[in-house]
């Protein structure tokens, strides 16, 4: 390792340089961060889809991951949630190494996500979708369910109450009995967020939450993301192409291009960064 490379790595690891700007008192970057990715990377038969990805996300931070199409943003999400096993580097969730874990174990450790192409359980009701999110929060066994023991009734009631409580974040409690597949597009995206929240995560990954939404809905979504963060005291990381949303609510932004981080910083820093402008708009002609 050359000297410059070592220096660059040191600088790269921290995403938001200054701890807390006083927005939330709970924020403390000096305590164990929710997520810490070190030199994360994956190769698909020689093709390096993501390479040397370093990132730290604080306890209640809203982080954005942007980049041109095919930059590897969703691949990063898949690496963090263990859909893919990284071929290089490590991911620490709440200080715990996730090496060798699968998606289920990563979820139990506190990472929940939504999907770019909505993956709801279409044929079930809205409430049942949320109840599936509550799977590991309100538990009772198979035989309790078959024999309808008291634990079943208690568990079902708790799930029902919790599901309605979570749905009320987006004012969706009235839709509890509706088939999830018949919801309008925006509501489906919101339901996916509720379902992810139901797993009681400490880090919520949102994959293009505003895709297909109109400006009004996007505005509402921005408020809701901040509301979720404040209410549940969790960190949120989102992939989004809508720059108003990203620049509006993200406290730290990370720009990815060809699988590599090309810039990190606050919204203002990113907007002024010549490498980012080049990645999005192309190189300015000389002279």
């Amino acid at each position: 390792m050359t000297q410059t490379e070592g220096k660059k790595r040191l600088l790269d690891t921290k995403m938001v340089p200054a701890p807390s700007q006083g927005i939330i008192p709970e924020r403390d970057l000096l305590s164990t961060p929710v997520l810490e990715a070190r030199h994360l990377g994956i190769e698909f038969g020689g093709l390096k889809a993501v390479e040397d990805f370093n990132l730290i996300i604080g306890k209640t931070e809203i982080a954005g991951l942007i980049g041109p199409n095919g930059a590897g943003k969703t691949t990063v999400f898949n690496l963090l949630t263990k859909v893919y096993q990284p071929t290089m580097g490590t991911v620490l969730l709440n200080g715990k190494d996730t090496a060798g874990m699968n998606t289920v174990q990563a979820n139990k450790l506190g990472i929940a996500r939504t999907f770019q192409n909505i993956r709801l359980f279409d044929n079930m009701t809205v409430e049942d979708n949320v109840r599936i999110g509550l799977h590991n929060q309100v538990k009772y066994g198979m035989f309790t369910g078959i024999l309808r023991l008291p634990g079943y009734w208690k568990g079902e009631r708790r799930q029902h109450e919790k599901a309605l409580e979570l749905l009320s974040i987006f004012d969706m409690q009235d839709l509890a009995g509706v088939r999830a597949g018949s919801l309008p597009y925006g509501a489906q995206r919101r339901l996916e967020i509720v379902r992810a929240l139901a797993t009681n995560p400490s880090l919520l990954l949102l994959d293009e939450p505003a895709a297909g939404m109109n400006p009004h809905e996007t505005e509402e979504l921005m408020h809701n993301i901040i509301k979720i963060r404040d209410q549940f005291k969790i960190a949120v990381m989102l992939i989004e192409h809508d720059m108003n949303l990203v620049m509006g609510i993200c406290e730290g932004i990370c720009v990815l291009n060809y699988g590599r981080i090309i810039a990190k910083g606050t919204a203002d820093e990113i907007q002024a960064n010549p490498t980012v402008i080049e990645a999005y708009l192309g190189k300015k002609k000389e002279g």
Binding site: T81, V83, N102, T103, V104, N107, K108, A112, R113, F115, R119, L120, F121, D122, N123, M124, E127, D128, R131, I132, G133, H135, N136, V138, K139, Y140, G141, M142, T144, G145, I146, L147, R148, Y152, G155, E156, R157, Q159, H160, Q173, D174, L175, A176, G177, V178, R179, S182, R195, A196, A198, T199
Partner: protein, 352 residues
């Protein structure tokens, strides 16, 4: 709470229909209004209903294709027959109902063990491996049973592989199958087994585990991201279905004086799958109706003599055409939609 009540009411109505059907059949048997040939079909109908309901749990609810359901049935049948004979000889359990129940439990346990042994390696994989392995299991278990010999000597059980020379009275003799079985299966017991399997399957579906099973079927990736252990819940559905099939097999075995392994061929597995598909994949009540009709049908078509199977095939095609008819479908769709709207109003009302 309101919704919970509603599904319970629906289930109670459906159970009521089954119970009424049972009472009608039973009174017809008692009054002698039922034909002899049909009377002999009553226990097999019960068995096939349980087979179809349990296979629907695998195919419809957990979304895996199983082509060896008759294999579990045969494991249940032979272990049940042996258990029943041993109970009578060694423990002097003379009460027939008790012996039958114990035999069914033994059959269910052994079939469940077979289910676990197959499920552990296969359900970890994605794709159609379960279909391939269960198909092979059905064939292998039939060939193994063809080589097994069991005999009873003063309450002691003798087992041998490929060697018919064992002491005592033969219980199972290889390719001839089980001979001299005491026919203790009765229609009321078959009905009790139907109710038991319906309660197990319906309660499982409407519980936390059932929702997890359906989640793994609808979207495996999303289910995993929600922290649901896919293999565990696919196993749960598969083994529950195997246990029920084993119990049905034990009942089936003790309905005849001789049972050979060749009765549980690939054809039987496919027949049960036909019940499930025709009744509607994932539709438990549809499975019951399809299993009943298609078991009775060949009996009723006896008048057509040589053309029986031809007519049977035509009926199958007609049923498929009718269930896929766009007009009927849209009609059912409208009914379902109206029901959904009612639900919505109800839930909204409950909140105000």
């Amino acid at each position: 709470m309101k919704k919970l009540k509603k599904s319970t009411v629906n289930n109670l109505i459906s159970f009521g229909i089954v119970i009424i059907a049972f009472i009608i059949c039973q009174s017809m048997i008692a009054s002698g209004a039922m034909k002899r040939s049909l009377k002999g079909q009553m226990v097999p109908i019960c068995v096939y209903i349980v087979m179809a309901v349990s296979l629907n749990l695998v195919v419809g609810i957990s979304g895996e294709l199983s082509l060896g359901h008759a294999g579990f049935m045969s494991v249940g049948a032979f272990s049940g027959i042996i258990a029943s004979a041993w109970l009578r000889a060694a423990l002097h359990v003379d009460n027939e109902v008790l012996r039958l129940v114990l035999a069914m439990i033994v059959g269910g346990v052994f079939a469940g063990i077979a289910g676990v042994l197959i499920g552990i390696p296969v359900l970890r994989l994605r794709g159609d491996y379960l279909a391939i392995v269960t198909l092979a299991f059905g064939e292998i278990i039939r060939n193994v049973l063809n080589c097994l010999y069991f005999s009873l000597e003063e309450g002691r059980l003798h087992v041998s592989f490929n060697n018919p020379n064992i002491p005592g009275t033969m219980l199972v003799s290889g390719p001839q199958g089980a001979t001299g079985v005491d026919k203790i299966a009765t229609f009321p017991m078959g009905f009790a087994l139907i109710i038991f399997s319906l309660i197990v399957v319906m309660n499982l579906i409407n519980s936390r585990s059932g929702r997890a099973i359906m989640a793994t079927r609808d979207n495996r990736i999303a289910a995993e991201a929600m922290g649901i252990n896919v293999t565990k819940y696919k196993m749960m559905a598969f083994v529950t279905a195997a246990v029920l099939a084993g119990m049905a097999g034990a009942l089936y075995g003790m309905n005849f004086s001789t049972v050979a392994a060749s009765k549980f061929k690939f054809d039987t597995s496919i027949l049960v799958l036909v019940f499930v598909v025709l009744g509607g994949i994932g539709n438990i009540w549809g499975s019951i109706i399809a299993a009943t009709l298609l078991t009775v049908l060949p009996e009723l078509l006896r008048a057509f003599a040589d053309y029986r199977m031809l007519v049977y095939a035509i009926v199958l095609i007609l049923v498929m055409l009718v269930t896929n008819n766009p007009m009927l479908r849209s009609l059912f769709g409208q009914l379902a939609r109206r029901k959904g709207r009612d639900d919505q109003v109800q839930v909204g009302g409950a909140e105000e």
